[in-house]
Assembly symmetry: C2
Homo-oligomer: 210 residues x 2
């Protein structure tokens, strides 16, 4: 983390790039062409690529705050006395962010991220694992649900958001409602297949998109 004292114009341009990218990624997703980002920032392509070796590095940098907020949400959820409320509240809050930020959804749904995205996942994982266990001990969450099933919720809700957010911005809440009714302990009937292993999850990560 050396900060090699950027020249003033360099620092200004870097900030403009991050600001433009943040805006465009949130509104249109991470697939906006880099050329559009540089045009919006009023700089050239060369400037972008001197600051960020690849587009993915830019994505990772831009979404740093959003990742931090998700970590904070997970910490709050983990602290809830009512573990079911913490669990459902986390899903609602996290998905609200997904719906408001297409770029965040793209990165989380596809696990495309770089270091920062991975770091966030690793901070969140144990918090949610504990939360799931507690919700099961409290008799609220079905006992056959595992932490490895959680990505399923985000992948599928992400699809609903992609499909409906443009004209029914809250529709994913209906989907989440249906799904959560299936996650309650009282609703559980035997499942026909085991959860994914962690190795399989890692493969799934690589499989999304590119």
């Amino acid at each position: 983390m050396t900060t090699p004292t950027l020249r003033s114009d360099a620092r200004r341009n870097r900030e403009r790039l991050v600001a433009s990218a943040r805006e465009l990624f949130a509104a249109e997703g991470v697939d906006v062409p880099v050329e559009e980002i540089t045009r919006h920032a009023g700089v050239g392509m060369g400037t972008l690529y001197r600051h960020f070796p690849t587009k993915e590095d830019l994505v990772d940098a831009v979404l740093e705050d959003a990742f931090a907020e998700l970590v904070r949400l997970a910490e709050e959820a983990a602290a809830a006395d009512d573990a079911w409320a913490g669990f459902t509240g986390f899903l609602e809050q996290a998905l609200t962010r997904h719906a408001a930020n297409r770029g965040l959804k793209d990165v989380l749904a596809s696990e495309h991220g770089r270091q920062r995205a991975q770091a966030m996942r690793e901070r969140i994982r144990p918090l949610l694992r504990r939360l799931i266990e507690r919700a099961q001990e409290q008799g609220a969450l079905r006992p056959d649900f595992t932490a490895e099933d959680l990505p399923l919720v985000f992948w599928t809700a992400g699809r609903v958001i992609e499909t409906t957010a443009a004209f029914a911005p809250d529709h994913w809440r209906r989907y989440l409602g249906l799904l959560l009714d299936g996650l309650r302990a009282e609703a559980a009937s035997p499942l026909p297949a085991p959860p994914l292993t962690q190795a399989q999850l890692a493969r799934a990560a690589r499989r999304q998109h590119g």
Copy 2:
């Protein structure tokens, strides 16, 4: 439906194209480059485009049988005495086809299809609508579920299939199990958002992918 008596080589090449496309679409999805299809069929690009004005027309022609099979499945489901069994059985059977045929999943999830895909949808729709009503009258399916919620099931299950089919070909069944447990009448708690209108569904159709 005029059949203008194709020359023998033309007919043979057309069949080869359809056979190659069927194989490649099923295995790799509709995004296989057309050049790969023509190479596999042993013909030139020109030959493909004389028979099918666009790639989408080829897709539509290739999947005709798969569409017909889905219609048949819906008819069988609609005839079931136990409407819940018919409903869940249809979902299982239809998703089994999705999992076995990436191209079918691509077209159905994204409503990309041409005439034949649309025709299939219009034949299936009233059958499933009746089935849903009957399952609700029999007290099995939650009463706030509507026919307009069904695409949600296919969109989301499609995502699970995309993500996991390569290494856990049955994992979508676990997802479907969780979701179905939320669709039973006993599991229902109030939903926070109304179903999509048909106009919104039409917009969602256009929104997927391209």
